[in-house]
Subunit: 341 residues, 2 copies
Amino acid sequence: MHVLITGAAGFLGRRLAEHLLTRGRLTGPDGRERTIERLTLLDVVEPAVGTDDRVRHLVGDVADGALIESAVDRDTTSIFHLAAIVSGMAEADFDLGMRVNFDGTRTLLEVCRARGHRPRLVFTSSVAVFGGPLPATVLDTTALNPQSSYGTQKAMGELLINDYTRRGFVDGRALRLPTISVRPGRPNAALSSFASGIIREPLNGEAGICPVDPDARMWLLSPRAVIGCLVAGHELPPEAFGTDRAVSLPGISVTVGDMVAALERVAGPEVAARVRWERDARVAAMVATWPGELEARRARAMGFPGDDRIDDLIRQYMADELGVAPSGPAPHTAARNSSNC
Amino acid sequence: MHVLITGAAGFLGRRLAEHLLTRGRLTGPDGRERTIERLTLLDVVEPAVGTDDRVRHLVGDVADGALIESAVDRDTTSIFHLAAIVSGMAEADFDLGMRVNFDGTRTLLEVCRARGHRPRLVFTSSVAVFGGPLPATVLDTTALNPQSSYGTQKAMGELLINDYTRRGFVDGRALRLPTISVRPGRPNAALSSFASGIIREPLNGEAGICPVDPDARMWLLSPRAVIGCLVAGHELPPEAFGTDRAVSLPGISVTVGDMVAALERVAGPEVAARVRWERDARVAAMVATWPGELEARRARAMGFPGDDRIDDLIRQYMADELGVAPSGPAPHTAARNSSNC
């Protein structure tokens, strides 16, 4: 089988590629496990993934039909569509967001439809599809009401995934990702970038700027757990989804103040003191439209993995990115997390 | 001010055009009433509307950017976007539905954005945006989960209307229409066509074929009330909509059996006996995915007009299309209905 990852140069794309190369197998359209013979990594830049004979790189724009034509053949039975313009950039450049986040998704779905082989397609949506006056805990039955262009484009992508699946053009699965924390690397244009930065930068000896108030509530998922969710979303049988291919993934609900308190517990007061509260009204206003807590009952019942505690997210970053051996978490928690990916 | 109606050759488009020509005025972007100087009627065929110096006809496809460019100028401060491929046809021809129902809406929004004058734009959505496992009464907060391509395209249109409005490109209002009954004329390719046919055809001495079971529940609105709703949706101030420009209109919830019983009450057993029950599994399955009852609390609070009883819908058709003077309904009901349009 051939596997395609779009947005493969991003943090999640690279992690997923490495995970799939190690895993070596995925379920095919007939429900039976198959060997991954080729992994096509598509992005606007070539991702830094270790050399592997199975890997093919494609560089270009996901909204470019000719490129997508060359990326998907009839053996491409698994697609992970992660390519996206992040929230802050999609808000700043409406046309770019529409072209990549919406037209890119539509182009990919159209190419799959033309091939006629009904691949499994995992699409990363976002909690930014929710907004407006929300209940304290968002349910699986709560109406989408995005208050950003990014959330709008993701919500339209979910609708396309559902209809293309219902019509038998693809076997789609749209996963609404919580904010991923702690991401490695540098800050990006995602409005949620601070949710990694306020942990990561202090651990690296730098100031972590927090543009929202301490009581702002976030819905978080760790890098390991999200890779586990992407694979689980692919592996589930079609009938597990019922009449809706969009699923809100499990997360943990914490305030930004909780996050900084956990950083102090895990890494000490000196590290936590590197967080600087510098409110940015634009960021704070947009973040306030996102849900801080979801029930995610459906995802849990379907077996999507999650995290237990904010402290574990911080320890996971320290272990995976800084090489600090875990000391704090209870053994059962560590074992559960490692089974997530 | 200039007013544009797309889909103007359809039943609602013609009714709305006649209503606006009589009304003569609409609220402008500044919140003040203005005189309608020009009414542009756009459709794939020229609508049969009485001669009026204010009327301009444009014949063509709503997804044709050049045509829309010529339809919207900076004086076009009010747009009623009714053009659509109906549900049955959008299900039979996916590409046609996407092109007209989705790309057509996007094209119109893009032209408005390019003009930069922020017109009021009323978009007709549908209860077909709901589907899947639904509560007995759909709430304003119930998640959209369309089970048809038509419903998907309308739901994506709602999302665009909301985002284009939030960004200040238009002042959009998306109204989710119940099934309109009783429509005059001939059956069409809408899967809900029978909801008019089982009343209209028997009243005209013909057999009315019913493709669904008597216990199928429908959410209905009369032609007079829907014209009242389209105008109300235009006239409401922007702030009345809060953070969601999509509104489920009020309706009445009746079973198809109730409709036939009302036909017998209003027109007699001989007329009602002309209904023939000929189940069509394809139609029955799709209709079963639509909600049979909505709370529509928000629309009622916003002042959108509705109907009182199924009997009145039948009498309204007899009065408006067959010239039968109303005899049955209580006087206050007739007065309320006539104030709706």
